[in-house]
């Protein structure tokens, strides 16, 4: 590969929607097709968008049941989401699998930091078979004891395997280091110690408190007729009762601000390379400068010719890739520069990355570079919303973050309107300059002295429980 497209998953995502569009004209601004939105009496929000190019339907659900609700039981949201598939009132786990496998339908249930989700893709002719199963998975899961025990074993084994790769665990260490005691520090995966203590009853309680039509949405995109689909969905999901228990959303509590530079060093005895993040707090998803921030980040570390990748990879061969990005959440977020390098070049890499960040602040961005970044952001935008699955995901994200319509409709002009002067303001306001935070995962005995150069060092062991 020339570069790792998904390294560290530092992605910023934009959404747009729009008016009636048949086929896209190359000279027009990109728009997504028409969709319909309605709310059932039980509070469930439903989105429908017809797409007929391929005879398939994508289904996406979003529920307020992410890791921020884990409480003391780290990993509970994730196991509960997986547990939706351990059987339902009318279908055993193996029956669900046989039915869906037979028609080539996919089903995935998962938890993220803030929300839980279900996604499924199936042939449009099978809608009448699949939708009743999806409904039961969401509304009537039984959380079978035996299946839970099996899954727990696999999760524990997965947590142990994850420690083999710095890349798998650095995000969890980073969030814990940046967010401290705030619920945004909760690792989605949980830790071996906490996961080994759950009972299946914990999953049931978590489900009852957090899975409810109120506050949730489903989106269907694909080859169907909206009128028929509406009736079908009303019949299926209309009887889903609102939960009487509602978890408190602790994510709205303030995140502690960062006081000074600090370094977290995670030791991995057999490491030959150091994987590292540098950064601090970032932005909320509803930040009004969202588009402008992404354009500026594109210059710093959001594409192949970004200053970070150019300096660390192209000019010096220190790494295979270097990038930067914001991860915005509903109430806070992080910013990080991320890369990896051989153990012996750890210091050179850190210093070069800091130089690049420093020059962003000192020199800012010139007109030509800004134009290039603007063209790039606009040009790479449409393929993000090309498939029914991408569009269904877009609709549930719109629901979750409550997109501001003016922001949505003004995407192109927001990009175009960014001036050099404004980019200077964006840099000053959102890109950390000092009090930088560092997470280094590598061979501690060889990089400990280097780590101390950048701030007081806290040391952890990759093999220890938790993050």
């Amino acid at each position: 590969m020339k570069n790792l497209k998904k390294y560290a998953a530092l992605l910023i995502i934009f959404w747009i929607t729009g008016s009636k569009v048949m086929a896209q004209n190359p000279t027009d601004a990109f728009k997504v097709p028409d969709y319909e939105k309605f709310i059932l009496p039980n509070g469930l929000t439903v989105y429908l968008m017809e797409q007929h190019e391929v005879p398939v339907i994508s289904f996406s659900a979003i529920l307020p049941a992410g890791a921020i609700y884990d409480g003391a039981k780290s990993g509970l949201a994730s196991l509960t989401a997986a547990g939706l598939q351990y059987g339902t009132k009318n279908f055993t786990k193996s029956k669900i699998e046989e039915e869906l496998d037979f028609i080539g339908a996919g089903l995935n249930t998962y938890a993220n930091k803030e929300s839980a989700g279900l996604s499924s893709k199936f042939a449009s002719k099978d809608a009448n078979k699949v939708l009743p199963i999806l409904k039961e998975v969401l509304v009537d899961p039984v959380f079978d004891q035996e299946e839970f025990e099996k899954e727990r074993k696999r999760v524990l084994s997965g947590l142990e395997q994850a420690q083999l790769s710095q890349r798998n665990v650095i995000n969890a260490y980073w969030d814990k280091f940046i967010f401290g005691n705030h619920v945004y520090s909760n690792p989605v995966s949980g830790s071996p110690e906490s996961v080994s203590k759950f009972t299946v009853q914990d999953l049931r309680t978590f489900y009852q408190s957090n899975y409810s039509p109120q506050g949730s949405a489903i989106a269907l995109v694909g080859d169907f007729k909206s009128q028929e689909m509406k009736t079908l969905l009303r019949n299926l999901f209309g009887g889903w009762k609102k939960s009487t228990l509602v978890s408190k959303n602790l994510a709205t509590q303030a995140v502690n601000s960062i006081q000074s530079s600090r370094v977290l060093l995670v030791n991995k005895d057999d490491a030959r390379e150091t994987t590292l993040y540098i950064g601090g707090l970032g932005i909320r998803r509803d930040n009004p400068d969202f588009v402008a921030i992404d354009v500026v980040n594109t210059v710093l570390g959001g594409r192949f010719t970004s200053w970070l990748n150019d300096e660390l990879r192209v000019n010096s061969g220190l790494t295979y890739g270097a990038r930067s990005g914001f991860i915005p959440l509903k109430h806070s977020g992080t910013f990080s520069i991320s890369t990896f390098t051989a153990t012996k070049t750890t210091e050179a890499t850190l210093d070069k990355a800091l130089q690049v960040l420093d020059s962003l602040h000192k020199k800012g961005i010139d007109e030509k570079t800004l134009s290039s970044a603007k063209n790039y952001v606009k040009g790479q935008f449409p393929p993000k919303y090309e498939t029914p699955s991408q569009l269904a995901g877009l609709l549930t994200q719109m629901f979750w973050y409550g997109f501001n319509e003016s922001f949505i409709n003004n995407f192109q002009s927001n990009v175009d309107g960014l001036t050099v002067a404004k980019s200077r303001e964006i840099i000053n306001k959102y890109f950390p300059k000092d009090k930088l935070q560092f997470v280094l995962i590598g061979k501690s005995e060889e990089i400990k002295g280097i780590a101390a150069k950048y701030g007081p060092v806290t040391e952890k062991q990759i093999k220890a429980d938790g993050f």
């Binding site: 896209q24 000279t27 040009g379």
Partner: protein
């Protein structure tokens, strides 16, 4: 994607009316032998260009292992009109992005761009094919990048390490025996002359297939191809790879040490190339074993007996006979031998009793869904059209695939299981922490 055709007439019937058909792909070949496949698709205001060079690690020999992949990197390091860094800078300035990948069989360059940038893309691609600079300073810097790529792959994935060992054991003569990334010492030692010879041999218009999909017009692609690609002279066709792996005559084993919590296992059986008549039956067999939680290996090893935390198979298209790979990750405190025996016992059941009608129909249904998936994006279209053209000799075979899978019978699957899943034809690799016990 967003063709709203006669919506009112469609219900759950799944009309195929808006779907891409083989006849929608237009094709032309320039005088210098460069072949183009073009698919107009107006779903998004974007397009792509996939350039498939018929060179991969199978074209290498000891001393230059990894050179195909290294070249994939060098192609971004400057040519006559667009000097160092200018390829990426120009493309990104015009709203485009790119990547590239190298396999045992191919080196593929992928450009994604707003359609307004198409002429720039042609200019960039033609410049580097016709007149690449091989600057010694760039070669040195790029060695560092590739060594970092190699070590990060080995550091982060035990599967990479095990895969390399199994290929190195299963193949003793054919060039599939070294990895695509190459040997570390070769990466450090190949010369500028090696690079120049490689470029001249393989980076010729007659050794390249170009696929363009998206919001383009065929006549525009043709006009630009004539302007930018046609003037590049053809080269003598590269010498075909003559190596043939002799039949394996006995089971082989390879053990690799790495500090992992539980053993990793791969079992590879020699199987034929993509154009062999058994390809579709073997592909179905692969899905029977591992596609979905109801598949044979998953249901038995992961779910019922909990011997493995994951299990999978891989059988892909290849120019020369390659491996049908089965892989499993042991559950905690499970011995790899128990997993190995459990895998053989599932294989023996198929060899003896075959599969059921229900299972066969399930896989055929899944294959049809996979086919739809390939048509969902302009990138899926370009990648798959190109793959079928190269590996199966005709892009039309992509559209025939659902029908080809439909023809496979229960007997066919049983027959290929008996023919290829033989003890003497397999290589077992185990990666684990304790190799002294």
């Amino acid at each position: 994607m967003k063709k709203l055709l006669s919506i009112l007439l469609l219900g759950f019937c799944g009309s195929l009316s808006a779907q891409t058909k083989a006849d929608d792909v237009k094709t032309f070949t320039l005088d210098n032998g460069m072949k183009f496949l073009v698919l107009e698709d107006r779903s998004i205001p974007n397009a792509n260009m996939y350039l498939f060079y018929k060179v991969g690690s199978r074209n290498e020999y000891p001393g230059i292992t990894g050179l195909s992949h290294f070249f994939e990197h060098m192609m971004f390091n400057g040519s006559k009109k667009y000097g160092p860094k200018m390829f990426d800078q120009t493309m990104e300035f015009n709203g485009g992005a790119n990547n590239a990948y190298t396999t045992q069989n191919l080196t593929v360059y992928t450009d994604w761009f707003p359609v307004s940038a198409m002429e720039t893309i042609f200019d960039l691609e033609s410049d580097r094919i016709s007149s690449l600079s091989i600057d010694p300073k760039m070669v040195e810097s790029e060695r560092g990048v590739v060594l970092s790529e190699r070590s990060t792959g080995l550091e982060n994935s035990p599967w990479n390490m095990l895969n390399d060992a199994v290929y190195g054991t299963a193949f003793q003569e054919h060039s599939y025996r070294w990895t695509v990334i190459g040997y570390e010492t070769d990466i450090k030692n190949w010369t500028k002359e090696d690079l120049e010879r490689y470029f001249k041999t393989y980076y010729a218009p007659n050794n390249c297939l170009v696929v363009v999909s998206g919001n383009v017009k065929v006549e525009d692609v043709k006009r630009l191809a004539e302007k930018y690609m046609a003037p590049i002279p053809a080269s003598d066709p590269p010498k075909p790879v003559h190596l043939v792996e002799p039949p394996q005559s006995g089971e082989r084993r390879i053990i690799v040490q790495k500090e992992v919590p539980s053993p990793y296992m791969m079992i590879g059986y020699h199987t034929p190339e993509a154009q062999n008549k058994d390809f579709y039956a073997l592909s179905i067999l692969s899905s029977i074993l591992s596609s979905g939680n109801s598949s044979r290996l998953h249901a038995e090893l992961v779910d019922k007996r909990q011997l493995a935390s994951m299990v999978g198979t891989d059988f892909s298209e290849s120019f020369d006979p390659n491996l049908f790979m089965i892989y499993a990750l042991a559950a905690k405190d499970v011995k790899e031998l128990d997993i190995e025996n459990a895998i053989y016992s599932e294989i023996e059941k198929i060899k003896k009793d075959g599969i059921t009608e229900q299972e066969l129909q399930k896989i055929k249904n899944q294959k049809l869904m996979e086919f739809y998936g390939q048509l969902e994006t302009i990138n899926g279209k370009s990648n798959n059209i190109g793959t079928y053209e190269l590996f199966f000799g005709d892009y039309r075979k992509m559209f025939d695939a659902p029908a080809e899978f439909s023809k496979v019978s229960i007997e066919d699957v049983k027959r290929v299981a008996n023919q290829y899943f033989k003890k003497s034809n397999r290589t077992i690799g185990v990666l684990k922490a304790n190799v002294e016990e």
